[in-house]
């Protein structure tokens, strides 16, 4: 029991807020009980009836045949032709739900009034009053207790994968950062800051009730690519996406990063409906950092040769410097190739899907088939995806129903290496390749052939040669089947068990060609001329979630729902990898084949993970006025040690307990709100919960041996881990307070949430004692906090007869701070830069040198007398044209005059101050114009790509900014002089490469038109055109301010030059039959 207490222990400054939220939740409960007691005294008051008028909000004309139900569905009414209805209500705090054809739903609190006037708005507007899917089932949004947001309408989306939708539709609730411009590659997702440092910080995906492995740390063979599991779902099959920001404790040790619930469509009614979606679009070539043209580069190059110390008589070897047109080599070296135009092309995106749903009283089904094809914007790259989905609900008897979900996806991709990579990335090589060279060979007499040229003498490969001779593919099959038998013992008492089997198999092939790509020197071995890699990954998941659900109506005011569940997840991940080099020819690509046997690698992963969760949830509801939700899960996992500090021990395993309490008060239903007419809806929410993160490396709790290749003799077995039975989950304790308001006759709705969370037991690598002979193992030490808010507003700006305009705004904000670490602050090397992990700072801030311009004159440099120390101990002074680095004073305020590691300081913070979306929807007759902006404000970016294009240290092409480089004494410029090898370290990681990554982007603009049809056969036709990434307002100098190199917290805000997002234009049709 002592251990259990430990979990609930308060933490310093955080405790007061947490305490407040818990107290608030309790107050709701207590007041509910108090009111209930009072109610008993007042006895069984006769039920009362309310009369009302339902009318159109604009015309004020009555709405005929509107349905009115009380929220707990005990009575209902319909308006007559004058819009009048009368309904019996059970209590003066009752809420009426009004719905009518062509109108959005609305909920109206009765507030003890005798008569009501209810204005309905067109269903063109987004609607707050809908049912949303949460972890325990489906609830009315207005009675929702935890902080959650859902989105259900994707009819005109051009998104390839679901995470793109999350970014555009829920951008203030989830910080979704597009990984790159490759179709379907998805986004890195962070909910409420960074809730981990070294473990998984991506949310849990629960798709149709099944936990998906998000494969967050699985590396692809293809540089810059991430095999996004959400790409397995066709967006048109998605019924709803819900982001659960708190109240996730029933997913216990997996839930600390938030939960994203995705539901696919199911059969809805007896009428068979067929939907056909067609979409075609073009994707344009992205804008890249401009690089020098042929003439500019030639001058640059000769300058560079001048700094390289090459003897004069050797300079003649650089044939490109020879300007004699009579020479046979003249043509080879006198082109003006726009390499980027050669590597990129206009992409084409197309998507077709057909779905049917319907059924009878025994069975409802949804069936869909979809095809998505994207011809990528880099030559030869593409994506082909086929999806099929079959969801059915069988009602075998009143007692027994059966759900069935089958999903299948086949993804086929051609890829190229992406990002800054001097050997094999065609997009990057296109930037640094000499523009005076041609992609093609020239004959001895100087005429151009159609053969691709080999890698040049400057050591840069031919991007087109690489594109044409490389063979990088990915084939992926994913399949899952679920059965959900449910027993209905009574209308209120059910037992269901969802069993799911899923298989995901990915085969990746990689070949980088010799001759066209430059040779790569591999330390300790030699040169690699060509590389062949092959990887087969398999993920098999077996999942079971058994739930016993009991709903108890205690009396007419008090409702209790119990949920008791047991969840089991077994995941098997296997990957087999082989790599070979130097096969001697581009036609010999079979492994091992003729590849050099001494230079081959065979490796793999074979991880089994099992976890069990026992959970319970109690929802209590008093009069739909007070809501209380208490959840707990008790989790065990094969990844936990069996002597964890934070858990208790049972059956030889350690178990973690993850409780939460959430309460809500629907204040707008209170009688005293009767006269506050401008408030239509007011809900206060508070909660406190503990969740965990089980993203621990498998097997690290036990001692194990692994195999080491010994020579060509055989395999040796070596102890490679010692047991640490204390390794456990990371624990996140988070308090939440929120408010939802509907104002001014529902013209304005607002929602605000404040959260404060602490993640403790951070998984950090701890050095093992020397005597073990081993390096590191995980330990649970360290603590960080995330505090912030989410805000959203929605305004029905214009509500005219045929012109309706709705504006929405969402914003998220968090402050991440490391509170404690097991050891001293440390840095991590990332793409030539460094990030710092230090107490008192956010995770992974950029850590480097500060600069202050460039010395224009030698005198200026001498005056400051700064120097660097060379490896042999001697010193070299900075001179004219060198960067003026800031000499940071030491602890005693003394500047030592030497620029070295002691001068590094924090130079940037990749966390934004604010991020979110702005959306506008204008509806005019049958036309709808919607615009969606995304923004991020206050985040710093380490522009690694630009740092390589302005480094001025080798023979590669550079950005046109380098034309303003320092060349002569007295020149005032921000670009330092160039010097081969950069002896003074001018290009080192400094604030020169840190930029403000704030942006406002018109992410999507769509105009759609509903064809006015009067046909019995066709229900509707909708035609739309859409544009993505049309406008970006930013000061950022890179291609695009939206990118995410990796899912890891430590790699955020680093632009390593992945294929950027670019403008794209679409036209789509939607037929409903």
């Amino acid at each position: 029991m002592k251990k259990f207490k430990n979990i609930l222990k308060m933490d310093g400054p955080f405790s007061s807020y947490k305490y407040l939220c818990s107290m608030l939740a309790c107050v709701f409960l207590l007041s509910a009980i108090a009111v209930r007691a009072e109610n008993k005294v007042s006895g069984n008051k006769a039920s009362k009836s309310v009369t009302g008028l339902v009318r159109d909000a604009h015309t004020k004309l009555p709405v005929n045949a509107a349905q009115i139900t009380t929220l707990n569905n005990r009575s209902s009414a319909t308006t007559n032709s004058s819009g009048i209805f009368t309904i019996d209500i059970a209590s003066p705090e009752e809420v009426l739900m009004v719905s009518a054809y062509n109108y959005g739903n609305r909920e109206i609190p009765v507030q003890n009034k005798d008569s009501l006037v209810i204005d309905l708005y067109s269903d063109v507007y987004s609607n707050y009053y809908q049912k949303i899917d949460v972890l325990t089932g489906t609830v009315n949004n207005s009675t929702l207790v935890p902080a959650a947001k859902a989105v259900t309408d994707f009819s005109q989306s051009v998104a390839v994968s679901a995470d793109e939708l999350i970014g555009t539709e829920l951008g203030g609730d989830v910080r979704a950062i597009s990984r790159s411009g490759v179709a379907g590659v998805g986004s890195s997702l962070f909910i409420r800051g960074y809730n981990s440092l070294n473990a998984n910080a991506q949310p849990l995906f629960v798709v149709d009730g099944v936990i998906w492995n998000n494969l967050y740390d699985i590396k692809s063979l293809h540089a810059g690519f991430f095999s996004n599991p959400l790409n397995d779902i066709n967006v048109t099959d998605i019924a709803s996406i819900t982001v659960m920001k708190d109240g996730t404790s029933i997913y216990g040790s997996k839930a600390s990063n938030g939960v994203i619930i995705i539901k696919t469509k199911r059969g809805t009614g007896l009428v068979t409906k067929i939907n056909l979606n067609v979409l075609r679009g073009v994707i344009t070539q992205p804008t890249n950092i401009p690089v020098m043209n042929s003439d500019q580069f030639r001058v640059y190059e000769s300058d560079m040769i001048g700094t390289s110390g090459i003897a004069n008589n050797d300079i003649s070897k650089f044939i490109f410097l020879q300007d004699d047109p009579t020479k046979s080599t003249y043509n080879t070296y006198h082109n003006n190739t726009k390499w980027l135009d050669e590597a990129y092309q206009t992409g084409i995106s197309q998507s077709y899907s057909i779905s049917a749903n319907g059924g009878d009283e025994k069975a409802l089904y949804y069936f869909s088939l979809g095809y998505t094809g994207v011809k990528g914007i880099v030559k030869t790259t593409d994506l082909q995806r086929i999806n099929a989905r079959f969801n059915a609900d069988l009602k075998l008897s009143t007692f027994f129903t059966m759900g069935l979900n089958i999903g299948f996806a086949n993804i086929d991709r051609q890829l190229v290496d992406d990002g800054v990579n001097n050997y094999t990335s065609p997009t990057w090589l296109s930037m640094i390749k000499a523009p005076f060279l041609s992609p093609y060979n020239f004959t001895a007499t100087g005429s151009r052939t159609s053969e691709f040229a080999y890698s040049d003498e400057l050591g840069t490969g031919n991007p087109l040669g690489i594109i044409n001779y490389s063979n990088n593919s990915l084939k992926q099959y994913s399949f899952n089947i679920s059965g959900v038998p449910t027993f209905h013992f009574s209308p209120n008492f059910t037992l269901s068990s969802q069993f799911d089997f899923s298989l995901n198999k990915t085969t990746e092939d990689y070949y980088s060609p010799m001759l066209y790509a430059a040779k790569q020197f591999i330390e300790g071995y030699g040169y690699s001329e060509n590389t062949r890699m092959n990887q087969v990954m398999r993920n098999i998941g077996i999942f079971d979630d058994t739930r016993l659900s009991y709903k108890k109506q205690l009396d007419k005011n008090n409702q209790l729902n119990f949920l008791l569940g047991w969840r089991y997840l077994s995941n098997y991940y296997e990957s087999d990898y082989i790599e070979g080099h130097n096969s001697g020819s581009n036609s010999s690509t079979t492994l091992p084949g003729s590849f050099n046997s001494a230079f081959s690698v065979v490796d793999g992963i074979n991880n089994k993970t099992k976890s069990i969760s026992n959970y319970a949830n109690i929802d209590y509801n008093y009069k739909n006025l007070y809501f209380l939700s208490i959840a707990t899960s008790v989790d065990g996992s094969s990844r936990f040690g069996n002597e964890t500090i934070g858990g208790f021990s049972l059956f030889g395993h350690s178990w973690g307990v993850f409780p939460s309490i959430n309460g809500a008060w629907l204040a707008s239903s209170e009688k005293f709100m009767k006269n506050v007419n401008f408030i239509n809806q007011l809900k206060l929410r508070a909660g406190y919960g503990i969740t965990g993160n089980d993203g621990i490396e498998d097997y690290r709790t036990v001692a194990y041996f692994s195999t080491v290749r010994f020579y060509d003799k055989g395999n040796g077995i070596v102890l490679s881990n010692i047991a640490n039975p204390q390794i456990q989950w990371e624990t996140t304790k988070r308090a939440n307070g929120g408010i939802d308001i509907g104002l001014l006759n529902e013209r304005l709705s607002l929602s605000f949430d404040y959260f404060s969370g602490i993640t403790q037991d951070l998984l950090t690598l701890k050095e093992l004692p020397n005597v073990t002979g081993l390096g590191y193992n995980w330990s649970n030490e360290g603590k960080l906090s995330n505090k912030g808010f989410e805000f959203s507003a929605n305004i029905k700006l214009l509500n005219l007869k045929s012109l309706k305009w709705e504006l929405g705004f969402s914003a998220g904000h968090y402050v991440n701070e490391i509170i404690s670490l097991p050891g001293a602050a440390y840095t991590t090397k990332v793409y030539g830069g460094e990030v710092l992990t230090e107490v008192g700072q956010p995770a992974a801030v950029f850590y480097g040198y500060k600069t202050n311009g460039v010395y224009a004159t030698q005198a200026a440099a001498l005056a400051e007398n700064l120097k660097i120390q060379n490896q042999n101990g001697s010193f070299t002074n900075f001179g004219a044209g060198d960067v003026r680095f800031v000499d940071k004073p030491d602890a005693n305020g003394i500047k030592d005059g030497i620029i070295n590691a002691n001068d590094k300081q924090i130079i940037g913070n990749p966390n934004p101050d604010l991020y979110g979306t702005i959306n506008s929807k204008i509806s005019f007759y049958k036309f709808t114009l919607s615009a969606l902006f995304t923004y991020s404000y206050g985040n710093d970016v380490y522009n690694y790509q630009r740092s390589q294009l302005e480094s001025g240290l080798d023979y590669s092409n550079q950005s046109t900014v380098m034309l303003s480089r320092w060349t002569s004494e007295g020149q005032n410029t921000l670009q330092p002089k160039i010097a081969y090898g950069d002896p003074m370290g001018n290009a080192r990681f400094s604030d020169r490469w840190i930029e403000d990554g704030s942006y406002l982007k018109l992410k999507n603009l769509t105009l759609s038109y509903n064809l006015p049809l009067k046909s019995n056969f066709i229900e509707g036709i909708n035609i739309w055109i859409s544009a993505n990434n049309l406008l970006t307002f930013t000061k950022y100098l890179g291609s695009d301010p939206e990118f995410s190199t990796r899912n890891s917290v430590l790699y955020q805000g680093i632009d390593n030059g992945l294929i950027p997002l670019s403008k794209s234009y679409y036209i789509g049709f939607k037929f409903s039959l």
Partner: protein, 557 residues
Amino acid sequence: MFNNKQIYDMKKICNILILAIIASIGLVSCDDLLNVDSGRVTFEQDYRLSSPNDSIYSMMGIYSQLQKLADSYVLLGELRGDLLDVTENSNLDLREINDFNISKTNKYANIKDYYAVINNCNYLIHNIDTATVINGQKVMYRYYAAAKGIRAWTYMQIALNFGSAKYYQKPILSMADGEEINNYPDLTFNELADSLIADIQPWKDVLAPNIFPGIEQTFPIRFLLGDLYLWTNRYQEAATEYHELMYDYNYLINKTYQSYWVLDNNIISTRRYAYWTDSYYYGGQEAIASILCPTTYGQTFDLDSLNLKYEFTPSAQAVKNWDSQTYFNTISNTVPGDLRKLESIINKNTIIDVAPNSLTTTSNPENTTVQNIVYKYIWNARAVNVQSIVIYRSSLLYLRYAEAVNRLGKPNLAFAVLKNGLNSITMNSTKVIPLNERSTAPYMNFSNFRFDNNVGIRSRGLGPKLGDLNPLVGDTNYIIPHQNQLIDSVLYVEDLIQKELALETAFEGNRFQDLMRIAIRRDDNSYLANIVSEKYTDNKEAIKSKLMIRSNWYIKQ
């Protein structure tokens, strides 16, 4: 819709299903649900060394860990000595070693690499089932003894490089074990030696495991015992162990590996026969123990590439040592210089074609400065798939023997190792071994015919006649000058042995430890400080005064 019978049946089926589900909930208590296994790693609890196969895997695991010590052994032993120096190409780690300023992150001074060997040895020793009998032989003893030998050698390296070691015999398999043992006392070399001697002594007659025939991968326990005794001034026991090793395994110093200048009309020409080189070839007759270095892609073996990249170079002192010798054809027919130099170092620019692995080192023809690199390393890396570092070889064995018997008051016997060769003729010559040094101690028995071809170590690089210079008569060249006291002769010969080690075993990794041992024995820090500081030019005095303090000889952890 349904008749009663159907409803009844359905309810029955449902009840069974419900029971099944409830039963599955009950499985929470079932321990197996959370147990996992893996095909890639072997859990400690599942790994039992009960078959020779398991033991071979474990043994190879130990060898693979030992590989990581090969670079360190050589670089720590030589860069801190007087014979190997840094260059302008040297990386920071090498500079740190050279300057006795080794940081905690130095790649070549990671104490964990040493304890990794020890812990893996401990695991094998602790778990191996030595009772297993195959073909009437207790086969497992070979692995058992080999692991004990490797463990003892590694402990010696820790104590000698880092000043002290934590001695433990049970394998560390958990954090708790690790933390407990980390609190063990730090034992000095002398404190450790007794435990190590007791640990390996009983196994000195066990044969080495026959895993890779032809490559001696196991440290002979007698050599280890000899070294332990030598370090702890137990000279008689040391001499005995060394002698037994020579005798039992036929470790000899004979003319097979003799290099000599070709004579043209009895005049020394400029052509030579280079055979001495083979004496440190890992597959040769004189290799006693070597570490096979990794050639597998992804595993690093730095020595070869550091050498080819000219990140270190033979010191001027090392070159001077050889150059100041005289090669004798006859007493009157001489040339300056020691042939062993030509087979120990080489100009980098002439070696390109010999380099293995097609590692190209860009030669810059305009740069005419001679960049000397170590030929010994290249020689042992000449086969693409086999690279090795020889730790123990015959010459070292004989020189250690000489060091021991010298301290037993037998300087002439010790001197004979250098000059005459230990064979029956030498032993019977009163000119060489005076009567007062003779005894019937077993370690002095070289009468067996197997020793008949033994020659003096020097004779293989300084002229074929050197060792034959009429041992019965004696001569005036390369002799022990008359001393008043026996101890003076002993010290004189000890210096000669030290110098011979520099000529014969340069760059092989033992230099710094040899100097340490002699300096400690003489309790004279300046002995080491003077010799080592000779290498330095800019900071000679600083290094010297640093080395006058004995604690600076050790790497700080």
